[in-house]
């Protein structure tokens, strides 16, 4: 398997930071707050490799740093230190060494993000179709007709009725908003997708259908995905490997069935058994 993303000792500290930050935080100190300077160590020394076509889960309790990690990779936030290499179209992009224009280009065309909160991933003031069109325009697609056709096809693929294409997504149900977000994320054919708690807060039956849809699209497109969730069902369904985070650290990584059935770390054992 070829790598698509290599993350090396990625760290994000919110606050002034001090030399002791990393030494006094983490699972063994049971906190992510530095007692000397008050900084929050959201992510510390996180390393991982994602392979082409692979779906990797990131789980852990609230505040463990899952979203922080993914946000940096999608350029929503800047790391304090660390590197990430994105292998794409024969090139190795050193993500945080790129200039802003280069970063935006990758973000708009070669990556996609689906947020838990649809208002972050969608423009609520323009139609569902417009949300897709917006992204297609950034990717140099210029003909109005081609864009409209493509947007219709994408929405159909994520099971948004074509009749609703011209409606504002603000009026959609949560499940439907997620479908539009997924269509938007997929619109440029990006090889790398980030999903952050995409089914949290939805009805169970809606959750199941969204998961099915994601799985189906993943199989058809072969897109690589980092899937953030604290839902063990999502992890079991979607992912083949999983990493577990606590207080900003990756404390365990393994095959998903192994993480769920034979967790090694004390914390993962708790996490898995409390969900049974």
């Amino acid at each position: 398997m070829k790598p698509i993303l290599d993350v090396e000792t990625l760290t994000r500290i919110h606050g002034p930071g001090c030399p002791a930050c990393l030494d006094v935080t983490g699972p063994e100190h049971d906190t992510n707050i530095c007692r000397h300077c008050g900084s929050v160590v959201a992510v510390a020394g996180a390393s991982l490799r994602l392979h082409k076509g692979e779906v990797l889960g990131i789980m852990g309790e609230s505040g463990s740093g899952k979203s922080s990690l993914v946000k940096m990779l999608y350029f929503d936030d800047k790391p304090t230190s660390g590197r990430a290499i994105f292998h794409d179209e024969g090139q190795a992009h050193d993500l945080f060494a790129l200039n802003e224009a280069q970063q935006l280009r990758l973000r708009d065309m070669r990556m996609g993000m689906v947020y838990q909160n649809p208002s972050l991933g969608l423009n609520f003031d323009i139609s569902a179709g417009g949300n897709i069109a917006e992204r297609l325009l950034m990717s140099d697609e210029l003909s109005y007709r081609a864009i409209r056709e493509k947007a219709t096809a994408l929405l159909a693929r994520t099971e948004v009725p074509p009749a609703r294409m011209d409606e504002l997504p603000r009026n959609f149900s949560g499940g439907m908003q997620q479908r539009v977000q997924i269509a938007r994320a997929l619109s440029t054919g990006a090889p790398l997708l980030f999903l952050d708690e995409v089914t949290t807060g939805l009805d169970l039956s809606v959750q199941a259908r969204i998961l099915d849809l994601i799985m189906e699209l993943q199989e058809v497109t072969g897109v690589s995905m980092l899937v953030v969730t604290h839902d063990l069902g999502v992890v079991r369904h979607l992912t083949t490997r999983t990493i577990v985070m606590k207080h900003g650290r990756i404390i365990e990584a393994g095959l998903t069935d192994q993480i769920l059935e034979d967790p090694q770390a004390a914390y993962t054992q708790q996490l898995v058994s409390s969900a049974l």
Partner: protein, 235 residues
């Protein structure tokens, strides 16, 4: 002489439960060799650790000791106990199958799609995959009227057969069977046995657990006795 495909050496599995600061032994000191077309049956009392051993071979459980040397289709020797996760994922997709009684399935897929799916994932053409899936479903006597429906609504026994059909459609050079015939009626059980025999005849190696000793006598080439661990003996 055909070459050994699986060589299990002194395999052991125990669990460390952090909460209770306790080590729980599940199985230890298991060794056997398997050639293509052979079936090894794990036999022993309930709680002896048979399923744990099977899961340790598949790497759902991390083995605590020993080696699981597997000869791949291209002739490499891989220790499944320690191989990188990506190597395990590749082998699971292409060569090593696990058959349980339980079916986790997607509510939106038809039975035919569920069964054909592993082949589609391997890149087999849709028609060929559906053909093979249909043959397997027919061999397990799943009525054709049900093939378009989702197995989510099936009875326990029907689901189990769909699951077995899927596993055998995917096939594999090494198949791990955890009580594949439990809770099936005699007719269905006979169909599954015939399927196991057919896969063996095609050269699949298997490690299986059967609660019925008559099946062990009929299907197994090798019998592996698994003893229950005495808790007191373990420090």
């Amino acid at each position: 002489m055909t070459e050994t495909i699986l060589s299990v050496r002194d395999l052991g599995k125990g669990f460390y439960i952090h909460d209770r600061a306790k080590h729980v032994p599940a199985a230890e000191g298991i060794s056997f060799d398997l050639k293509p077309g052979q079936l090894a049956a794990l036999v022993g009392p309930s709680g002896a650790g048979k399923s744990s051993l099977l899961k340790a071979i598949y790497r759902t459980y991390v083995p605590s000791s020993g080696q699981v040397i597997y000869r791949t289709a291209v002739g490499d020797l891989v220790d499944l106990a320690t191989a990188p996760e990506t190597a395990i994922t590749d082998l699971r997709r292409a060569e090593i199958g696990f058959v349980t009684q339980f079916l986790h399935c997607l509510p939106r897929l038809s039975t035919l799609d569920v069964v054909a799916r592993p082949l589609l994932q391997q890149g087999v053409a849709r028609e060929a995959a559906h053909d093979k899936a249909a043959r397997m479903l027919a061999a397990l006597a799943i009525p054709e009227q049900l093939w378009d429906a989702t197995p989510a609504t099936f009875s326990g026994g029907e689901r189990q057969r769909v699951n077995i059909a899927r596993s055998f459609t995917q096939g594999g050079r090494l198949m791990l069977l955890d009580e594949p015939t439990a809770s099936l009626d005699p007719v269905a059980r006979e169909n599954v046995c015939a399927m196991i025999e057919a896969a063996k005849a095609e050269g699949a190696a298997m490690v299986g657990i059967f609660h019925d000793m008559a099946l062990v006598e009929r299907l197994a080439d090798v019998k592996i006795e698994v003893q229950r661990k005495a808790f007191e003996d373990v420090a």
